[in-house]
Symmetry: C2
DNA sequence: CTGTTAGCGCATTCAA
DNA sequence: TTGAATGCGCTAACAG
């Protein structure tokens, strides 16, 4: 049985208060009693219980990162690591620890209920009403990353529509009219299915804007088709296999997560297709390894690290009862070799 | 001010116990009172405080992952994400959350003291005496990953010496006698500097065994040199730049972290060196993207995911007061194209 | 099935 | 500088 503050106090012949001071505010007690207390503490192996401490002080010193899927799935995407790095930077700076929360057995509500954190950052999901209400009930400050814009919610994101439009525009400009688009499966998490990601819708809107301008449109009868995939290498590969086997093979594959492109590359190699001569591949995110693939991957640079950093900073200021407002970060088209002119049959 | 269990009890005209049961063990109360309580709870926006709950139940429902450096640095290495995925799998399975702990402002002791977790997994560090003592004081079960073997410590690792020996053996077999080895900087964390990583020493031992068998040895006067680097792309690049500029350029570069190899590739490209014709590059870890680099990276496959999984499983059984013993996982040489015969001048 | 009564371990205000 | 008392919010024996 571990020693408690009472044991120390008794042994030292002082009150609990004094012991507490010894650990948290030594300047308030005499040096003599301080050393005596610490002596006894070491002897008895006493160390203040973090949980009791947290209860009394009413703050945990840690923030939560709420993921849209299980850790196991989410970390298949290197982009996530970038976001975490950004959050981690602030945590380090502020002396916070980071608690990774994933939907326990699919029950997001329980996860949030039980999270012993001072605030939460959600990644890739716009919280639905029930979750929002929970945050509110618990008085938990939160900020969303890529959660879309809704009033009263602090979000860190990019202009999904604009950059998607620009992206599609440059694909079209390269002459592509047969395009396979690997969309990310929408996230729906909650018990009542009211969590979602607006990202997809926004990107689709952007794509459509560019397409329409050129008299093109998405559809099974046109050359421009949408596939619902996951943000993993494997999903990229599998979908590519499917796509490459079609009678009307696209001249470009657009992956809404870079990591998928790696799978696409692989499948193209197997099929003996040269990128970008035979087919173009375009990504989204600009993961750290994108420039080092062969050929270097054309993609949209998304500031994952800065998103994490911005979100964490906003959250800490909210925790400190300061104001915070949504942030829209810049993206950049990274035109690299994997995007080339459409081959003219 | 948030509603507490007392408010609910009063409003419902029942005792705290009953309210508590309503949330944790509904079968113990009548359905009637249950619904009434829940009704009132919703009305008042009551949700049990996780911290108070934790204090009373004496378990937090979360485990800690203690990193050797800041999150920001550590997640530069994709291998880490693999380990996390493995841990995350078990967490999901067990309904645990994962708390990422990094040395707060370099003070590891504080981090551990304040961690509200049921157990800890350390990554890449063999805890020194002071930390060990802390774990012990707090009664915190822990398991180390790549922490080296010490008695009384549960560790998950690989046979560093054996696989390093095999690795060096096959490099030598390819005719290489001029080799640059990018060792990972040793980790020393604690206040009194008694944390360390045995990994490096073990690998070095393995290398030396292979080298000696061929009458070779590491040293500044020989062709085989050691560089102290970090497990990042950037460090790989910078060290490569340095190495490639030397008068006696090595015929092979061995990176003890795959991610470094990406930087080496880049630098070789700049120098107009072809891999493996002009120079061989060998890695360690087998990160998911290793086979997709160009050329595919020869490396040692290290089961990051399984390490994480094994460690988390061991930890959970320790938390449940069950026995647990160290595990040594298998590695595999992945001879890919980036390792070729040494060029004969 | 429900209420009473203790804790859980610590921080902190207010006196002394 | 130190101590007594109180509160933090909840769980769980135990009793009824």
């Amino acid at each position: 049985m571990r020693a408690t503050i009472n044991d120390i106090a008794r042994r030292a012949g002082v009150s609990k208060t004094t012991v507490s001071f010894a650990f948290n505010n030594p300047s308030k007690i005499s040096e003599e009693t301080f050393t005596r207390i610490m002596e006894i503490a070491r002897e008895l192996g006493y160390v203040p219980d973090p949980v009791a401490r947290t209860l009394a002080m009413k703050q945990t010193g840690s923030i939560g990162l709420l993921l849209p899927q299980s850790i196991q799935e989410v970390f298949l995407n290197p982009y996530i690591a970038e976001v975490m790095r950004g959050i981690g930077f602030v945590c380090d700076q502020e002396g916070l620890s980071l608690s990774v929360l994933s939907p326990l057995k699919g029950v997001l509500t329980q996860t949030i209920r039980n999270a012993a954190v001072d605030g939460i950052i959600t990644l890739g999901i716009g919280p639905g009403m029930s979750v929002l209400e929970l945050f509110h009930q618990r008085g938990l400050p939160f900020v969303t990353i890529d959660g879309g814009n809704a009033e009263g919610i602090v979000n860190v994101g990019i202009d999904e529509q604009a950059c998607s439009e620009r992206l599609m525009e440059s694909i079209i400009a390269h002459g592509h009219r047969d395009i396979a688009i690997f969309m990310l499966r929408n996230v729906t998490l909650s018990d009542n299915g009211d969590h979602f990601s607006l990202t997809n819708d926004n990107r689709l809107t952007g794509f459509n804007r560019a397409l329409q301008r050129h008299g093109l449109s998405i559809g099974s009868h046109t050359g421009i088709r949408v596939y619902h995939t996951e943000a993993t290498l494997r999903s990229g590969r599998e979908t590519a296999r499917e796509v490459l086997a079609e009678k009307r093979r696209p001249t470009a594959i657009l992956c809404l997560a870079d990591i998928q492109a790696v799978g696409v590359y692989e499948e193209c190699k197997i099929e003996g297709l040269s990128i970008p001569r035979d087919i173009s591949v375009i990504g989204f995110d600009d993961i750290p390894l994108a420039p080092f693939l062969s050929p270097p991957l054309a993609t949209v640079h998304q500031p994952g690290y800065h998103k994490g950093e911005a979100a964490a900073k906003l959250l800490t200021s909210m925790i400190n009862k300061q104001s915070a407002a949504s942030v829209v970060l810049e993206t950049e088209m990274m035109i690299r070799e994997s995007l080339g002119p459409a081959l003219r049959p």
